[in-house]
């Protein structure tokens, strides 16, 4: 699917790249509305999943692995959400978004094939990755 880094995320990347403002750890969240990420989005553009045993995931900057390639990319260990049943607000997960852990500013978002947790033990397994292209 399509990973989109919105304008706010681009500015954060530039500031960290140029040693203007240090980056932050990240929080990985699932969104539960049928939207396609847009370049103008903010964290408020997404409705986070709720209920059913869902909780956001913390991503530590030091735990990313970086690969020099063409294009270069950063990878994180696979994250697993194990649900206890159905979500409460909106039933279906349509993608994920990543925000800065402290500021809450949106870094990037990506839609994926939708999934509706329903059974105790249902899982979403997601391997965060971002490519510098």
């Amino acid at each position: 699917m399509t990973l989109v880094v919105p304008q706010a995320g681009e500015v954060i990347a530039l500031k960290a790249f140029l040693n203007n403002t240090a980056g932050q750890d990240q929080t990985l969240k699932l969104f539960a509305t049928n939207v396609t990420p847009a370049e103008t989005d903010t964290a408020g553009s997404y409705t986070e999943a709720a209920g059913g045993g869902y909780a956001s995931k913390s991503l530590a900057g030091a735990s990313w692995t970086f690969t020099s390639a063409s294009p270069s990319h950063a990878d994180y260990a696979q994250q697993t959400w194990t649900f206890t049943g159905a979500l409460t607000t909106n039933p279906t997960v349509y993608g994920y978004f990543v925000v800065q852990a402290t500021s809450g500013t949106l870094l990037w978002a990506e839609a994926f094939t939708s999934f509706t947790p329903a059974n105790n033990g249902d899982q979403i397994l997601l391997t965060p990755k971002i490519t510098a292209d």
Binding site: M1, T2, T36, D41, T113, I124
Partner: protein, 119 residues
């Protein structure tokens, strides 16, 4: 159904290429309007708000032969249908054409070429 159903595992494929390949974007008929910082038209980018006929959508890809994939949205910004159309039938959306719930502050919008519709 829960709690009686069998647990399922969903492993979505994510982190596709972020950018439209340069050689595709620069030759596309779809352009971004000039802005204060970029006084010339710019190539399109994924996530750009576009207009297709009377519909607003979000550009998700441009392939060979300049065929664009667009997710059309409703007045709330929710997905309605995906279409693949020649880029020359698309244009960048105007500020008012972005669904209100997903519309950025006008200053931000203008910095990305989403000017108000000419009166």
């Amino acid at each position: 159904m829960w709690p009686f159903g069998k647990a399922r595992k969903h492993v979505p494929q994510v982190s596709g290429p972020r950018a439209i390949p340069t050689q595709v974007a620069v030759t596309s008929a779809l352009r971004r309007r000039p802005t204060k910082s970029h006084p010339h038209e710019m190539p399109p980018a994924r996530g750009m708000w576009v207009r297709y006929g009377d519909n607003t959508g979000i550009l998700t890809d441009i392939g060979h032969h300049d065929i664009a994939t667009v997710m059309l949205v409703d007045e709330h910004g929710f997905n309605t249908a995906q279409v693949s159309v020649p880029s020359n039938v698309l244009r960048q959306a105007h500020f008012e054409e972005i669904p209100e719930k997903r519309r950025p502050h006008e200053t931000v919008a203008v910095s990305m070429g989403y000017h108000r519709r000419p009166s």
